[in-house]
């Protein structure tokens, strides 16, 4: 059944698409992580004028569909600020903001999970808030958050497929393109799904291994 050679014949385009997927994922991840940490720290602030907007930001990006956010950034934002935004920039901006809302919750969970005694001890030896975070709390918290981060990173990679709807050449976009040119949607879309599966399944396995290893040392908060 089927003629998968059409996929093989267009393997250069498929690879180009996969590269596009990885590029968006990596860039959004690189921006989303520090932004997530910042939002988490703001949300943990005791000043309500700081923690409230951070909370609204997180809730808004967690409860609205990423595709709506992407359309907003791609179609609405350029008119609003009068600057041209291409599909790559819109995608990176959307997914960096969207994933940072989820990362913020992971950071917050991890920071809160560090025992009170650690905070008090750090403060007792005269550390400032910045020192306390950097030297005492974050090193312990981040180790516990690793599985949750990896899981979110995988979710992010799955979400990046949405860029195909604004014509950025990721794997799914290339697949649609090839399917249209060759009239072989069954083979092409099945192969694309298979390729996604291989990459994402391998990443999930990695998460499980790291989870098991961290669980053994009793440091994991993933569930």
């Amino acid at each position: 059944m089927g003629d998968f050679s059409v996929v093989w014949r267009h393997s250069d385009l498929v690879l180009l698409g996969l590269l596009g997927t990885l590029k968006v994922t990596a860039t959004a991840l690189g921006l989303g992580l520090p932004l997530g940490l910042t939002v988490a720290l703001l949300r943990l602030s005791r000043t309500r004028a700081v923690s409230f907007p951070a909370g609204v930001f997180v809730e808004f990006f967690r409860t609205t569909p990423p595709l709506v956010q992407l359309f907003w950034c791609f179609f609405a934002l350029p008119i609003l600020i009068g600057v041209r935004i291409d599909s790559f920039q819109a995608a990176v901006m959307t997914f960096a903001l969207q994933s940072s809302a989820f990362f913020a919750e992971v950071f917050r969970g991890g920071i809160v999970s560090v025992e009170r005694g650690q905070w008090e001890a750090a403060r007792a030896i005269g550390m400032t808030y910045g020192q306390l975070m950097r030297r005492i709390v974050l090193p312990q918290a981040i180790k516990r958050m690793i599985p949750a981060f990896l899981e979110r990173a995988i979710e992010l990679m799955k979400t990046t497929t949405l860029v195909a709807t604004v014509a950025y050449s990721d794997l799914l976009f290339q697949a649609s393109d090839i399917a249209q040119k060759t009239f072989r949607p069954l083979e092409v879309f099945t192969a694309a799904a298979g390729l996604y599966f291989v990459v994402i399944f391998a990443a999930s396995r990695l998460v499980q291994v790291s989870e098991r290893r961290l669980a053994r040392t009793g440091e994991s908060t993933a569930h």
């Binding site: 709506v68 907003w72 799955k158 697949a175 694309a192 799904a193 599966f197």
Partner: protein, 222 residues
């Protein structure tokens, strides 16, 4: 930034398009949730089974649907599936199939984790009373497990609601597609997409608060 004059009137005048879109969104979400949960229970039980003929296909199904992007699944059911399908596949059928099967795979994992969280003693006591496996599951295990699974299921429902927006990519007339229609006709993407984002938020945010409330109550009871 200040140069733009917001004008929500064209969007509000076309509220019928958005209302129809909302109906499409909710219909897709409710149908996929119902089918997905039922499927998840069956698959979850099959994954828990010691019979390899049941266990193995169930595991493969769950892994495939959890490890591929939803949009790819929707596109597959819309563009690829019709070629091998014995029946006609509309945008609604394709979206409902993809979202149901996707939800089924995640629900199966929730059921499995929930069932496994019930102590062995409960199973043994039920068996000692002479109950069959379905009776043990229905009368003893599930009533206890479902309570623990409630937050996870509400979360899944929330994810599903967000996922229905992807059906706009295959031109199923749901909420986002409605906004797109309005934005194209009136050149007002800013207002159209802003309103739709707010509608999603208005539906989803109470759901998240519900999850928190349920989690808090359960923690207090256990």
């Amino acid at each position: 930034m200040s140069g733009y004059r917001w004008d929500f009137a064209p969007v509000l005048q076309n509220w019928r398009i958005l209302a129809w879109g909302l109906v499409g969104t909710l219909q897709l979400a409710v149908v996929s949730l119902a089918v997905g949960l039922a499927l998840g229970l069956v698959i979850g039980a099959a994954r828990y089974s010691r019979n390899r003929l049941l266990h193995w296909p169930a595991t493969a199904y769950v892994e495939v649907f959890r490890n591929t992007p939803v949009l790819v699944q929707i596109m597959w059911f819309f563009f690829a599936f019709p070629i091998v399908s014995p029946f006609a596949v509309s945008a609604y059928t394709a979206a409902a199939l993809a979202l149901s099967l996707n939800t089924g795979a995640f629900a199966a994992e929730i059921f499995r984790a929930g069932i496994q969280s019930i102590g062995r003693g409960q199973w043994e006591a039920a068996r000692a009373l002479g109950m069959s496996y379905p009776q043990q599951l229905r009368r003893i295990i599930l009533p206890q497990a479902v309570k623990r699974m409630l937050p996870a299921f509400t979360n899944r429902g929330l994810e599903l609601l967000k996922m229905t927006s992807l059906a706009s990519a295959i031109a199923f007339p749901e909420l986002l597609y409605g906004a797109r229609t309005i934005a194209t006709a009136h050149f007002n993407p800013i207002e159209a997409y802003t309103i739709v984002a707010l509608v999603y938020f208005a539906i989803a945010w109470p759901l998240t608060q519900l999850v928190y409330a349920v989690e808090r109550t359960l923690r207090r009871n256990e």
